[in-house]
């Protein structure tokens, strides 16, 4: 078995403009995903919007620059993630298809194992 990170990328304006009913529905869909994934779901969190993000880079002369905003500005931004366990990529993709992402899509990345 391998672990995969499922990164949820969505257009944040979709969520900003969503009414209560849409948000409740999304919550339900995430609950349904978790129930469907069962023991394969190893963890996951939702993130606050990129307007709350802070980026820190080395400045090349021994210090850091700290700036407002996400590491990369994109229309669809990382908004949450799950860690799932799967036998192979096909199984991980099948799980990822059940992750709700009404304003975007998801990316599946294998988790590096050391040793």
């Amino acid at each position: 078995m391998s672990q995969y990170l499922v990164l949820i990328y969505e257009d944040e304006s979709g969520w900003a403009n969503a009414d209560e009913a849409a948000i409740n529905q999304a919550m339900q869909e995430h609950g349904a995903f978790a129930a469907g994934a069962g023991a394969a779901l190893k963890g996951g969190e939702a993130l606050k919007p990129t307007s709350t993000a802070t980026t820190i880079r080395k400045d090349g002369v021994g210090g850091f620059t700290v700036t407002d905003g996400p590491f990369v500005e994109t229309k669809e931004a990382l908004g949450g993630f799950y860690i799932v366990e799967a036998a192979d990529l096909d199984e991980a993709i099948a799980l990822a298809k059940t992750v709700p992402a009404p304003f975007g899509g998801v990316e599946v990345r294998p988790v590096q194992v050391y040793g």
């Binding site: 036998a87 990529l89 096909d90 599946v108 294998p110």
Partner: protein, 409 residues
Amino acid sequence: MSAAATAVAVAHRREWAFVLAATVRVTRDLDLAEECVQDAYAQALTAWAANGVPAKPGAWLTTVARRRALDLVRREATLRRALPLLVEDEAAPPSAEHDRFPDDRLRLICTCCHPALAAEAQVALTLRLVCGLTTAEVARAFLVSEPTMAARITRAKKKIAAARIPYRVPHPDELPARIEGVLAVVHLLFTTGHTAPVGADLVRRDLVERALDLARMVRTLLPDDADVGALLALILLTDARRATRVGADGRLLLLSEQDRARWDRAAIEEGLALVRQALTRRPPGRYVLEAAIAAVHAEAPAWAATDWEEVVGLYDLLVQVWPSPVVALNRAVAVGLAHGPAAGLSALDALAAEPQLAGYAYLPAARADFLRRLGRADEARTAYEEAVLLTENDVERAFLADRLARLGG
């Protein structure tokens, strides 16, 4: 070439995929399996020269490659524990033709054409692993440098291992979508060969032959799939015109100018039988309809006798299942041939704003032809000039320049 060398070359063409697919089952590592299979072919050269060609060359090669693989796997057991190995499941049933070895070619081809790999990597891996081309040959096929192609193939293999793309025939519910991906690779290979996008030759024989081999292989593996049969038919029916597509002077000959007596009748008969069979499935898919259109041309004794109404009817269905601007363009041309150049021109002009057709030489070339027939020479000239600028195939460019010259200026 000696008899043994010829037999090895034939076995390379026919058996490579089978031998490699069966060896991957032992190594669970593509690179190691490739090494063992290359080694088996090298041994065959000397062994077959000394002892004669075995009755079942594929089984002989598989035995030798798998034995070598087992040796290496045992020797490197400790090292291999740290490697990401291919994921697989239970064995396929043994095939009679190759003695006791399972036929794992469908596994191999589904792994090469996995949708998680980039399209260009899928084609490259298929040529390398399923057709047994060297990296240099694959590079030449796509007109890129060998190091570029080597990097592309290595990156794809690494992703297969690291992301755990399984070495497995997909589940039945996923299989149709995955077969569609395999067929897309074969079709891309064929179209790239049929009219080379760039360069001096209109046709790249090597690519067309490989596409035909692959289509036949997939047909053997999935004999009941209508789309598979249809793609094979499409390739056979289109390639049957090969000998007549370029004149003795190297000039491009249109379907209307080709000597139909020199079309490959055997390929046409085989293709027509496959189309008839595929058409019994409802609803017909993309390749079935494309093959049916090619069949209408193949059955017409002369250009003037072409059933254009039938062609337009098939394109109407094709646009629904495959709504591509290029299909719409071909449909517009057929409309012009069925109902006259004015009708064709208005169908073409409806596509003028299509962004995917901007920069596509066939649109101005088709417009130019209809304008010429309508006697609108100035507009035809402008359209031919545009088409000449857009094509990158030398034979096509010469054809368009000739048409332009005939209009006078």
